[in-house]
Subunit: 318 residues, 2 copies
DNA sequence: TATCATTTGTGCCTGATTTTCAAAGATCGG
DNA sequence: CCGATCTTTGAAAATCAGGCACAAATGATA
């Protein structure tokens, strides 16, 4: 049933003009070659070589078959070479799925460096906050929060801690005061998500190690963190937002961090890709790029004493 | 190392959209399919399918490889089909080698019936009296005398006895008398070949069963039997010639048979072709045609009481 | 919601296929 | 005429592929 090998041996015999020479060239024994040719002839029901005990000579049928075999083998080798080449070079199309806000805020601003590094690669970026089936959708790489990772056929590599910070605008703090303990939050207007109730349970680790969960409430709710961010900026209330999202505002003072001495729960962004023996170079290239960008210290945690302090307190590089 | 089977299974998996479905379609177990795909991926060093435990989906690389595989498999099947078709139909070129005189006298006059029977076949007829290497020369079929058959890789099928007859022209007999015993030949002018000395040892079987060899001599020698034939016709002397060559002249009386009661050595024409498991249809067709033409009774032995008598005495059909 | 059937993947084992080894038959070159 | 080389074959050995059983996971279904 081994068509291709038979054909390759046959072609080699034709080109070497001898079973023995072909056997030497292919590091086989002459008898193995002889038997392969015999099998091929038996399967085809036709004689390919006329033989004496000393010489072989192509039949007409054999000559025709040789032409075809030579072409077929070349195509097989080309096909396999193309696969290996596609595998070993970064080209083609890479399909990436990422959570919308994080991609807009942190990935896309840096994506040009990646594309310039690999001019033969094109990128398809799908922004979504829904969990999706990578295999079904033909997604090569996904970037999402830890809790969304369920698929066991995927490899998850940690990109960056997603530190949550409770913030408010200086204006709000001036008007309502600054909470000193988590319990104080009950007396503040806490902006919340109405579609992820879990997001509204703010967990703090007390200085003595105990954990405390505050179920916050307020008069403004939205369905995305981005909406809370905007509301917070204009002084509507307190919000618990990702560090990367509020870092610039903390720097320029348009938001201030509250309860800095209480460690909050830390999740992380992960990069996901299909596990398996054979990881394509383009996937590896993108994963490497992301890791390079966001580890050991993610960009929003850099350059600012305030940020560094917060970062070192709440997490360490992957 | 079984490229083609791997590729066929891969293609089937793509088309069925599932390992299990492909396995059912190809009458295999799913695990066998899974392993083949795994082997293929390992050899290529690339992932062809993304899988969950429940679904598979082509990768980009896999899609490219599939296109190529589908084409390659079609070509493999076409190549094998063409071989079988060439094998099973009588077409192409048939290369025949034959002894010159017999071919001109007995084969070529009948060859048109053969060519008309197989309109897709073309014939290359090489007339030669030298023994040649069928394999080396790419000859499909050879027709020659028994004694020229030495190659053990050939099958020899007997076509017709080659009865030898001593003849002379009536004119010569009238002038020199008719020999009554083999010994009488020593007193006659016997035409001989100068290149095949063996041909000049005329062997007779006496009525009592003893064998007698007469080494003939005369004043005319030539290098072909055809030349002796022409000389004999014009009354130069006695010649020992093949029955097929002199039969028309015996019928029309321009030659007469001498020593008819002495059985002479009988050789035979054989049709030779490469032995082996797989005999091509065109070779078989030609061999069948020759056998049909020359057996059980060769044409020159037919229709004439004289001929039949001589034939029945000196040989029997193969 | 819980059970069931289906799908992919893996480990082990058996059986078949293939290779190797040894030798024969045959031919070519010196 | 002898030695070297080439094809082929038969038997033994080794490799390889497939089957089975099972696990993990998922979608369908009651």
């Amino acid at each position: 049933m081994d068509r291709a090998t038979e054909m390759m041996i046959f072609v080699r015999c034709v080109e070497e003009g001898s079973f023995s020479a072909a056997a030497r060239a292919m590091d086989m024994t002459p008898s193995a070659v002889s038997k392969q040719i015999r099998r091929l002839e038996d399967r085809l029901g036709a004689r390919l070589f006329n033989r004496t005990t000393r010489r072989i000579n192509l039949t007409d049928v054999g000559r025709d078959f040789y032409e075809r075999c030579a072409r077929i083998i070349a195509e097989i080798e080309e096909a396999e070479e193309v696969v290996s080449s596609l595998q070993d070079t970064v080209r083609g199309t890479l399909r990436v799925a990422a959570t919308a806000a994080f991609a807009r805020g942190e990935i896309l601003p840096r994506i040009n460096a990646f594309l310039e590094r690999y001019p033969d690669l094109s990128l398809e970026m799908q922004l979504t906050d829904r969990m999706l089936d990578l295999v079904e959708q033909g997604i090569d790489v996904a970037v999402m929060l830890q809790e969304q990772v369920t698929d066991p056929s995927l490899v998850a590599r940690k990109l960056a801690n997603n530190r949550r910070i409770v913030v408010a605008s200086p204006d709000y703090v001036a008007r309502h005061g600054e909470p000193k303990t988590p319990e104080d939050l009950y007396r503040h207007n806490c902006l919340s998500l109405y579609n992820v109730s879990r997001f509204n349970d703010w967990e703090f680790e007390m200085p003595d190690g105990r954990r405390q969960v505050i179920h916050v409430q307020g008069n403004f709710r939205a369905n995305t963190a981005g909406a809370l961010y905007e509301a917070c900026l204009v002084g509507v209330g307190l919000a618990r937002l990702s560090a990367w999202m509020v870092a610039p505002r903390l720097r320029d003072g348009s938001l201030v961090e509250l309860l800095p001495d209480y460690v909050q729960e830390v999740t992380a962004y992960y990069v996901l890709f299909p596990q398996g023996r054979h990881m394509s170079r383009k996937v590896r290239a993108f994963v490497d790029f992301l890791v390079e960008q966001f580890t050991p210290v993610p960009p929003w945690e850099q350059d600012e004493s305030l940020m560094l302090r917060g970062y070192q307190r709440s997490g360490e590089p992957a």
